[in-house]
């Protein structure tokens, strides 16, 4: 196990290094700089700014300097938001995305599994159809349509919620609803199909034949096995959701990391772009790593052996 983790960790570091290098040169290849604006700054002041941020040096020198900085844990200062640490901005905006994201995940797992179970239990009945229509709608409606729809109805017209902002607990309702719609739909469909499979499995028939109590069958066998695929889906979904949805954060005006990331790309805020990319990269790799571990714990058929597949 220790060897396995160490091995994985080493691979993660190598991947991270390649990711940093690729993003760095990609970012530098795009026209523009952090100091551009409609009204041009005089050339000598522009030159001074470039020099102060080390942007006047050849790109490869900037690259090595950056590698040196992050090796010592220094992610630098945002080039647009002067005097603010990149790590500070990331942590603060990420906490907003994380809060909304986690609530959305919990809710979507809860409702999604419920809908899926109901649909499976009442296979080809009215409930099944209604649940699946709901699920498919969640997938078929683009999130920016859904978000602006509920914003208009529940925020502007009915006035139940604030149209935007992120102050009180009520401000979570609309963005979480918009964010959870798609995962709910996905989880519901996933649960339904795997539950159907389990319900028709031989061991369930055996259990029924043995005269086992219906509740025992449901909770000990059907649900436990039926939501296994959901568990494996939660890993990547979590990574996806907590990295912030640009659409939702823009429409509901939430200072999350998704919105900030788009802004820093538009502003050519180089240190921020790198910081967020590294942060996302680590999150994603961790999510995959944890999913691997969970797989091992759940399914004893998979063995832990370094790089080789079993």
């Amino acid at each position: 196990m220790v060897r396995y983790v160490a091995n994985k960790f080493f691979y993660m570091l190598v991947s991270l290094f390649i990711l940093i290098s690729a993003t760095f040169f990609l970012m530098k290849a795009i026209p523009g700089d952090p100091f551009m604006s409609e009204k041009k700054v005089p050339p000598e002041i522009q030159a001074r700014l470039m020099e102060q941020y080390g942007l006047d040096k050849p790109v490869y020198q900037q690259y090595f300097k950056y590698l040196g900085d992050i090796a010592t844990g220094d992610f630098g200062i945002s080039m647009k938001h002067q005097n603010q640490e990149v790590t500070g901005i990331i942590l603060q905006t990420f906490s907003a995305s994380l809060k909304i994201g986690l609530i959305a995940i919990v809710i979507s797992v809860f409702i999604g599994v419920l809908l899926g179970m109901l649909a499976a239990l009442y296979h080809r009945k009215l409930i099944d159809n209604v649940a699946m229509i709901l699920a498919v709608l969640g997938i078929a409606v683009p999130s920016f349509v859904l978000a602006s729809l509920i914003q208009f109805v529940f925020g502007e017209k009915l006035g139940w919620f604030n149209v935007m902002g992120f102050d009180g607990p009520l401000d979570y309702v609309l963005p979480v609803a918009a964010l959870a719609a798609q995962p709910i739909a996905f989880i519901a469909r996933l649960t339904r199909s795997s539950m159907l499979e389990v319900l028709h499995a031989d061991y369930i028939k055996t259990a029924k034949a043995k005269g086992l109590n219906w509740f025992t069958i449901m909770f000990r066998h059907v649900i436990r096995n039926g939501i296994l695929p959901v568990v494996t889906y939660i890993g990547p979904m979590t990574a996806n959701i907590i990295t912030g949805s640009v659409v939702i954060e823009q429409i509901f005006s939430i200072g999350g990391i998704g919105k900030v990331f788009v802004e820093c790309i538009t502003n050519r805020d180089y240190t921020m772009i790198m910081g967020v990319t590294i942060f996302y990269g680590i999150l994603l790799m961790l999510a995959r790593f944890i999913t691997d571990i969970v797989y091992v714990l759940v399914d004893p058929r998979i063995k832990l052996t370094g790089g080789k597949e079993g």
Binding site: L19, I30, P142, F144, S148, V246, V247, F261, I273
Partner: protein, 315 residues
């Protein structure tokens, strides 16, 4: 049956002893399959045909594709000419779907948008398919170090900020539909490759593959004759689901201002244009949104149906 009917065909038949010969049980005939032999494909098609929802989706898809091809020619308007005297008109005899903020005919624009969205979606999905199958096939087939490295590479590519790549592509190449498709496929194939990899890994330890290998079949033959054809079910399902994904991704690019170039429209960019004023001009949002949702729905349900049909366990 009328028993006392005198015109029974067999009433006057002369019976001879030969007619009472013992036929016994023909052991050989027992092995013969009476039902016409069906290939896996025919079998799947039979099962798919029984799935009414999936068939309805298929019909809807065909109709949408046809309308996207023909639609723009039916109307006397084109998709780009402005009419500033008739902006934001509700649906009427003249303009069946109303007009937009520059007085352009929404009917023509909606079908043109569907055309662009479908082209983008289908092209991106097909390219994803090609790259994903080859890359994933190699990963799954060779395993070990090759797999580890290739897998890491796709993981890294997956983490590179997508918006940066798209902006750079739009700078380097002419902004066009081709560039958008390229931007969508640059990371789009990764999902497909992961699915193919998983399938191949499962399949390659099956007995028939081992048999073929022990009989001296080369890697090419194994991969292309045995492994990929057997993984075709999940591949096709992923393909049908990646079309709507690509359509949505393009819509998202439009939301960021990196989508198709106006006056050309996609369904996503039309919805995005309508987003600020849909409470007053609902038709500008409604028609493209219904169409995009319908397309998503149809592709999804059809994909589900296809999965059920191709999975022999779910007969």
């Amino acid at each position: 049956m009328a028993v006392n009917d005198t015109t029974l065909p067999n009433a006057n038949v002369e019976l001879s002893p030969e007619d009472f010969r013992k036929i016994g049980v023909d052991e050989k005939q027992a092995e013969v399959i009476q039902r016409e032999s069906l290939s896996a494909w025919q079998d799947a098609w039979l099962r798919l045909r029984k799935n009414k929802l999936a068939m309805a989706s298929l019909v809807v898809l065909v109709l949408i594709i046809l309308a996207a091809i023909i639609g723009p020619f039916i109307s006397k308007f084109n998709y780009y000419s402005n009419d500033l005297l008739n902006t934001n008109q509700p649906p009427s005899k003249e303009h069946w779907f109303g007009t937009d903020d520059l007085g352009r005919d929404m009917f023509v624009r909606t079908w043109m948008g569907a055309r662009i969205s479908l082209i983008v979606g289908l092209a991106a999905a097909l390219i994803d398919l090609m790259i994903g199958v080859i890359y994933g096939g190699i990963m799954g087939f060779f395993g070990g170090r090759v797999d580890a490295i290739m897998n890491k590479f796709s993981e890294i590519l997956y983490s590179i900020p997508y918006m940066l790549v798209t902006i750079l592509l739009l700078v380097v190449f002419e902004p066009s539909i081709g560039t958008i498709i390229l931007a969508l496929t640059i990371t789009g194939w990764i999902n497909m490759s992961w699915i193919v990899r998983g399938e191949i890994m499962q399949l390659k330890n099956r007995e028939y593959v081992l048999a073929s290998r022990s009989m001296g079949a080369g890697s090419n033959r194994l991969l292309f004759r045995h492994l990929l054809p057997n993984a075709v079910g999940p591949i096709i399902v992923t393909l049908t689901l990646s079309v709507p994904n690509a359509i949505f991704s393009e819509a998202f690019l439009s939301f960021l201002g990196l989508g198709v170039q106006a006056p050309v429209a996609s369904l996503g960019s039309m919805i995005n244009d309508a987003l600020t004023g849909w409470m007053y001009y609902p038709w500008r949002m409604l028609f493209p949104a219904i169409l995009i949702s319908l397309t998503m729905l149809a592709f999804n349900i059809f994909g589900d149906g296809l999965r059920d049909a191709l999975d022999p366990k779910l007969k």
